[in-house]
Amino acid sequence: MDTAFSNEDLKFQSEIRDFIKTNYPQELRDSINSKRKLGKELSREDLTAWHKILGKHNGWSAPSWPKQYGGAEFTPTQKYIFEQECAKAECQYIMPFGINMVGPVIYTFGNEEQKAQHLPGILSGEVFWCQGYSEPGSGSDLASLKTSAVKEGDYYIVNGQKTWTTMAQYADWIFCLVRTNPEAEKPQQGISFLLIDMKTPGVTVRPIKLMDGTHEVNETWFDNVKVPIENLIGQENMGWTYAKFLLAHERSGIAGVARSKKAIERIKQIASSEMSYGEPLIQDPAFKAKIAAAELELSALEYTELRTLAKDSAGKGPGPESSLLKIKGTDIQQAVTELAMEAVGYYANPHLGTTLSNEYVGPDYATNLSGTYFNFRKASIYGGSNEIQRNIIAKMVLGL
C-alpha cells in the first residue's frame, strides 16, 4: 500500500498545471462563465475548444486511449492527476460521447477503415458525437429497443425514434443501437451497433427542455434513413456486447470526484460571504456539518475510485464495480448542488436567462444555483438509473 506520488508523478503534475495555465484560453473561461451565470446553453465551440487544444498535445484529449490510436495512455495515477488539475482549474470537461464511449468501442471492435475514418476526428474534437440508445419505451429496459435497421443492398434502412439524445443539436454523428433481428430468441441477441451521419436525409432532431429551462437533450427521429453497411461496428446482432462494454466505460467517468471537490470549495467561499444569524453562514453548525459530511463521503469515494483505477490498470476495462462509482458519484454531485442552492437563501429564486428576465440580480455567485440543483436530478437517472446500477451490483457482484 502506497498512495504517495512518485517524483515522476509530481513532475507530471506540474507539467499539466503549466500546460493549463499557458494554454487554457481566457476567452473560453469568460464565455462559459457568463453563460453559466445566466443559465444559457454552451455553444458547440464552448464545449469543444479545450478538447481541440488537448487534442493537439500528445493525445491528452484521450487520457485512457492507447498510444497506438493517438491517445495519451496515462497510467491510473496520471489519469487521476490529470482529472484533478483540470477540475481545479475549472477547465470545461470533455464531452464523453466520442472520447469515453464510441472511441473505445471503435478501437476495440471496429475494423481498420472505421478506425482510420473516425478516431482522428474524435481525438481532435472536430467531430461531435452523440449517443442513440434510449427510446421512449426503452429506458432502463434498453434491450427492448425498437428502432429497426433492415438491410437492403449496401445499406441499412433505419426507422424509429431515439430520445434523451444529449447534445444531438450539435452532433455530426450518432452511435445507435438498432434492431436487426426482431426474431431473435432473446431481445439482446437481435441488436446491432451502427454509426450514423446526422446529416443523412431522414434524421430529425427535436429539442426537449429540461426543468431548468436548458436545452441539453433531444428526440432524434429516423425516417427511412439510408446507412451504408460499412457503418456497422463488429458483427451484426452482436451490438449488445459492445453496448455493455461502452456502458461500463460511461459509468466510470461519471463519478466526477475532482469536480465535486472543486464545487465544495466553491460552496465554502459562498458560505463565507453569506450571512446567517448575523454571522457568516460557514460558521453555522448545521451547515458546517453538512459540508463536512459531503467531504467525508467524497474522500471515501476518491479512494474507492483510486482502488478501481489501480485494479483497472491491467487494462481489462472497468467491471460492474463501476456501478458503485456511478451511484456514489452522482449522490455526491446532487448533494453538492443542493448545498450550493441552500447557501444562497432567497437568491435561489431568481430565474435568469429567460426571455422574461433581462436584468441581472443578486450576488454573482448565486445565479442559477437552483437551476443547477434541479438540472442535476438527471444524474441519478442517466447512464443507467441508480436503481438499475444497484440491480447490476446485486446480480453481478453479490450474486443475487
Binding site: S134, G137, S138, G139, S140, D141, S144, T163, W164, I208, K209, L210, M211, D212, G213, V217, E274, M275, S276, Y277, G278, L281, D284, A286, F287, E342, G345, Y346, Y347, A348, N349, P350, H351, L352, T354, L356, S357, E359, V361, G362, P363, S370, G371, Y373, F374, N375, R377, K378, S380, I381, Y382, S385, N386, E387, R390
Partner: protein, 392 residues
C-alpha cells in the same frame, strides 16, 4: 377529537377545488406563467367574486372572519393547482400586517379594497444580507418634517411586480440586527424613489428587487407604532409560513399520487415498474412522508396561535418537518419518473420546483430547526426536567 371540516369549511374547500378544476387546467396555467404579467387578472376578479380575498379579514371590513384552518384549505387547493396569483403576498402577508397593525382609518381604506380585488400588496422585508432574519434590517427611514425618507434595498420580494402597494420594513432606530427600531411603511408601488426590477423565479412565480432611493412616505402611512413592528412582523410571517406549508402539503399530495399512477402505468422489462419492490417501498415512504407532513400541518393549524411561544414552536416544527418531506417526496417523484421527471413539458418537475422553493420561503429547514431548538431547549420547563431526570 375531530379532524373533519365544518360544513362551512367543506363549502370553502369545494369552492376552491372547483375553481382550480375549472380555471386552472395545466395548459391554462402554462400560458399564465409564460405571459408577460405572470398572473391573470381575471382569476383575481374571480377570487373577489368567490369571496376568497376576504377569507382572513374581520367581518367589520367585509371579510369572512376566517381562521387558520380556512387559509389552510385555500392554500392546499392552490398548491394542488400550482396557482400563481399573489394570494399569499397580498391577502395573508400584507393583509395580515394591515389587520394587525393598521389604524382604523388605514384598515377602513385598504382592507375593503383588497377584498374587492382592487388592491394587491407585497411585503418587502428581506435584504441581501438578512437571509431569513426578519430583524436584520439595514434599510433606513429618517423623519424629515412630516415625511419619512427611506433608503435601502429589498431583495426577492414576491408579487411586488403585480402589486399596487408595498409594505416596506425599515429601520427607524437601533442597529442593524436589533428587534426594536423597525417600522413599517405602506407605499404606492409607483412612488418616486422606488425602482422595481421584476423577474421570474425558478418555480415560475414573480419576484422583484426593490431599490429604495430617497423615497418619501408621509407619517400617515406608517403602519402601526414607530419602532415597534418586529413582533407583528414575526407573527404574520409565522401565519404566512403555515399558509406556505399548506400549499406544500397540497403539492406533495399531487406528487405522491401522480408518481404512484405513473409507476403503475410505466412498463419496463415487460411489467409495470411498480412491480419492483424497491419502487413500492419508495412510494410507501413518499406516502408516509406526506402523511407526516399533513399531520404536523394540522398540529400547527390547531395550535393556540395567539400564544406567541406556542405559535413559534408550532410553526417552526411544521416548517422544518415539512421541509424534510418536500425534499424526500420531491426528489423521489422525479427519480421514479426517470427521464420524464426532469423535463419541462411534463407536470411533475413544476410541482417539484415549487415545493422546493417553498422549502426556502420564510426560512429553510435548518433555519426552523434552529429556531425550534432555541425555543424548546433554552429554558427547560420543570416538567421537562423531571422527565429527563427519570430517563437518565
Amino acid at each position: 377529537m375531530n379532524f373533519d371540516y365544518t360544513e362551512e369549511q367543506t363549502l370553502l374547500d369545494n369552492m376552491v377545488t372547483s375553481f382550480v378544476r375549472d380555471n386552472y387546467d395545466w395548459d391554462t396555467r402554462c400560458n399564465i406563467v409564460k405571459s408577460e404579467e405572470g398572473w391573470k387578472e381575471e382569476n383575481w376578479k374571480q377570487f373577489a367574486e368567490l369571496g376568497l380575498l376576504g377569507v382572513p379579514f374581520d367581518e367589520v371590513y367585509g371579510g369572512l372572519g376566517g381562521k387558520s384552518t380556512d387559509l389552510m384549505i385555500v392554500m392546499e387547493q392552490f398548491g394542488k393547482g400550482l396557482v400563481v396569483e399573489p394570494y399569499l403576498p397580498t391577502v395573508i402577508l400584507a393583509g395580515g400586517l394591515i389587520s394587525k397593525l393598521g389604524s382604523e382609518e388605514q384598515k377602513n381604506s385598504i382592507i375593503p379594497e383588497i377584498i374587492s380585488g382592487n388592491v394587491r400588496c407585497a411585503f418587502a422585508y428581506a435584504e441581501p444580507q438578512s437571509r431569513f432574519d426578519l430583524n436584520d434590517v439595514k434599510t433606513t427611514a429618517v423623519l424629515n418634517g412630516d415625511d419619512y425618507v427611506l433608503n435601502g434595498f429589498k431583495s426577492v420580494v414576491f408579487g411586488a411586480g403585480m402589486a399596487s402597494h408595498l409594505i416596506i420594513s425599515a429601520r427607524t432606530d437601533g442597529d442593524q440586527r436589533s428587534e426594536s427600531g423597525i417600522s413599517l411603511f405602506i407605499v404606492d408601488t409607483k412612488s418616486d424613489g422606488l425602482t422595481l426590477q421584476n423577474y421570474p423565479t425558478i418555480d415560475e412565480y414573480r419576484a422583484s428587487e426593490v431599490i429604495i432611493e430617497n423615497l418619501k412616505v408621509s407619517k400617515d402611512n406608517v403602519l402601526g407604532e414607530v419602532n415597534m413592528a418586529y413582533e407583528a412582523i414575526e407573527e404574520i410571517v409565522d401565519i404566512s409560513t403555515i399558509a406556505a406549508c399548506s400549499e406544500a402539503v397540497g403539492i406533495l399530495q399531487v406528487l405522491k399520487d401522480s408518481t404512484t399512477e405513473y409507476c403503475k402505468n410505466r412498463k419496463q422489462f415487460g411489467q409495470s415498474i411498480a412491480k419492483n419492490q424497491v419502487i413500492q417501498h419508495r412510494l410507501v415512504d413518499m406516502m408516509i412522508e406526506y402523511e407526516q407532513a399533513k399531520s404536523i400541518l394540522y398540529m400547527a393549524v390547531t395550535a393556540d396561535l395567539s400564544n406567541s411561544d406556542e405559535r413559534k414552536k408550532a410553526v417552526s416544527a411544521a416548517k422544518a418537518r415539512i421541509g424534510k418531506a418536500i425534499k424526500f417526496v420531491g426528489e423521489s417523484a422525479i427519480q421514479l419518473h426517470g427521464g420524464m421527471g426532469v423535463v419541462d413539458e411534463y407536470m411533475v418537475s413544476h410541482y417539484f420546483k415549487r415545493a422546493t422553493m417553498i422549502g426556502v420561503l420564510f426560512g429553510n429547514t435548518d433555519y426552523h430547526m434552529k429556531r425550534y431548538m432555541t425555543l424548546t431547549q433554552s429554558g427547560i420547563s420543570s416538567s421537562d426536567e423531571a422527565i429527563s431526570v427519570s430517563v437518565t
